[in-house]
Point group: C2
Chain length 299, copies 2
C-alpha cells in the first residue's frame, strides 16, 4: 500500500455533500489518494460491461478521454472492461478519476498497476472498512456511491441484466441524468443500453452532448453532435413566401398556385434541412438560424 | 410491361380506406399487380438508406422475412438498398409486398427484375399518371403514401437528413407508429435512427416486438425480444418476507435485522431479475410471473 489511508465523514473537509441527499448515504468513506477530488466538480460516471466489445472499448476510451481532458472527473468501479478503460483513459490524458470499490481501499480488487495508478494520481474510495474482501452483494451497494458522486451516468455497454443497469437505476432514483450508448441489435452487449433507452434514459452519441449539462463550454466542433444546418441553399419561392409570415401549407399552395402535396413535400425537405419549422395549428415558419429539428408528434 | 395497369379511386373495390384519413389523400392510384393487397392487413413499412451497411442489409432482410412470412404485407419505395432488400425478402418467403413509386407504374424506377417481381407477385402503386418520370420532389410526396398504407413504419438505417426521416415524419403526423433500429454511434448511417429515437420513435430490436401491435400472435420465441425472466433461483429470506406484503426497504431491513444498504442492493438485483417490482411510495412487491422490468424514475 503505497499511499496513505484516510477516513472521511460528514465533518471532513472534502466530504462530498452530493452523497448526503441520496437514499441511505454512507456514514463514512475510506480513501486512498487525492481526497480533494471529492470536492471537485463536475463528475461523470462511466460504467459498463466487464467484457466489452471492441466498439465498447473504443467508446469508453473516447468518452473518458474527452471528458477528463476538459476537467471532468471520471467516476467508475475499477472493474475489468469499461470501468478500467475509463479510469485508464482519464489518467492517460492527465485527468482526474475516482474508483469506488466493493472492498477495502487497502486491498483493491482487481489489484494491479491501474489500482495503484488511481491510488496515486486519482482516488480509491470505499464505504467498506479496510481489510474487507470483495463480495457479490457489495457491488450493487457500491454502485449507489458511483452514481451518487456523479452529475450523470453514462452506460457504454451491458448485457440485459447487468450491474451497470443497477447503477443506472440508482442514478435515476437519485435524480442523476442517465445516458446510454446505443449499439447494434445483434450485439448482446447492447441489450442493457437499449433497455435503458426504452425506459427513458437519454440516447448519447458524443461526449460533447454532455458539455452544456456539465458547464464545460461549447461542444467541441469535432465531436459535438450539433451540426450546422444547411442554410446556404438558394432561396426558393416557397421560402420567400414564408418571409415574415406563418401560413399553413394549404395557404402556401394557394398563394403559389402549386399542388398541396408538392408544397407539403418541399416543406418536409426544408424542415429536415432546418430551414423551416412547424408551429402549432399546422403553421409553418421560416428559420433563420441554426436549429435542431424534431419529429413533431412523435411515435 | 407484363402486367395490366389499373386505375383506382375511392369507389374501387380495393381502395385502401387507410389513405382517406391522411392529410392530402391521393385522389387516384395507379396499380400493377395484385390490387387485393390494398385490402389486406396488416401492412408495415420498412424503409431506410439507399446504401445500407452490411448490418442494415441484414436487418432489413431479417425484419421483412419475419413479418412477411407471418402474413404481414411489406410496404416500401423500391429504392436501392433497404427498400429493395425489404421487397425482395418478402417475395423470397412467398409473402406480400407493395412498392409505392415516385413515377408511373408503367415505368418503375429503378427498373429490373425486382420491379417486375413486385408487379407480378406483389403490387406496384403510384399516384402519378402512367408515363410520369421520376423526379426529386416526387419522393417525399410518395413517402406519405408508404406511411399512410402502413400500421407502423420501421426505419432500418439512414443518414442524418435522409428521406427515411421524411417517411417517419409523415407516419407520426398520420398517427402511425414509428420504430427505429439503433446502431453504432460511429456509423453515420445510424444517425437518422438515433435522431428519431431522440424525437420519440420506439426503439426496436426484434421484429417480434411488432407482433402484438399487428395482432399476429405471440412473439416467436427465437426472435421475440421478451425473455422468460429467471424465476427459478432459490427463495431467499428477503423474497419470503415479501410474500403477500408490500413493505418498504426500511421495513424489510428492520424485519430481517440487516443493513438497509444490503437490503436495497438485494432488492435492486431481484428487480433486475424480474422477481420483485416497485410500487409507488417506495413499496416493494413480489412478482410471481414473467415480467418486464422498467427503470422507475427515468432519466
Amino acid at each position: 500500500m503505497a499511499t496513505a489511508l484516510h477516513r472521511l465523514d460528514g465533518s471532513s473537509e472534502h466530504w462530498p455533500g452530493d452523497l448526503d441527499s441520496i437514499e441511505v448515504p454512507p456514514q463514512q468513506l475510506w480513501a486512498r489518494g487525492r481526497t480533494e477530488l471529492l470536492a471537485a466538480h463536475p463528475r461523470v460516471a462511466i460504467v459498463g460491461s466487464r467484457g466489452p466489445s471492441p466498439y465498447g472499448q473504443d467508446q469508453a476510451r473516447r468518452f473518458a478521454s474527452w471528458l477528463a481532458s476538459r476537467g471532468v472527473t471520471i467516476v467508475s468501479g475499477l472493474a475489468r472492461g469499461v470501468d478500467s478503460i475509463a479510469h485508464g483513459a482519464a489518467l492517460d490524458v492527465g485527468g482526474d478519476t475516482i474508483a469506488v470499490l466493493g472492498c477495502g481501499v487497502d486491498r483493491p480488487w482487481p489489484d494491479g498497476p491501474l489500482a495503484e495508478g488511481v491510488a496515486t494520481r486519482g482516488l480509491l474510495l470505499s464505504e467498506f472498512e479496510p481489510g474487507t474482501p470483495p463480495a457479490r452483494h457489495h457491488f450493487p451497494q457500491r454502485n449507489r456511491i458511483i452514481s451518487g458522486l456523479s452529475v450523470a451516468v453514462v452506460v457504454i455497454e451491458g448485457a440485459a441484466r447487468s450491474g451497470s443497469l443497477i447503477t443506472a437505476r440508482w442514478a435515476a432514483d437519485q435524480g442523476r441524468d442517465v445516458f446510454a450508448l446505443p449499439g447494434r441489435v445483434d450485439q448482446p452487449l447492447a441489450r442493457g443500453c437499449h433497455q435503458l433507452l426504452r425506459d427513458g434514459a437519454g440516447l448519447i452519441e458524443e461526449p460533447g452532448e454532455l458539455a452544456e449539462l456539465l458547464g464545460i463550454g461549447d461542444p467541441d466542433p469535432d465531436t459535438g453532435r450539433d451540426e450546422a444546418r444547411a442554410c446556404d441553399a438558394p432561396e426558393t419561392a416557397l421560402l420567400a413566401a414564408l418571409r415574415g409570415e406563418t401560413p399553413t401549407a394549404r395557404e402556401l399552395a394557394t398563394r403559389l398556385a402549386r399542388p398541396l402535396t408538392e408544397v407539403l413535400a418541399e416543406l418536409a425537405l426544408l424542415e429536415l434541412e432546418g430551414r423551416v419549422a412547424r408551429a402549432p395549428g399546422g403553421l409553418y415558419r421560416r428559420v433563420e438560424h441554426r436549429h435542431e429539428h424534431g419529429l413533431t408528434g412523435g411515435a
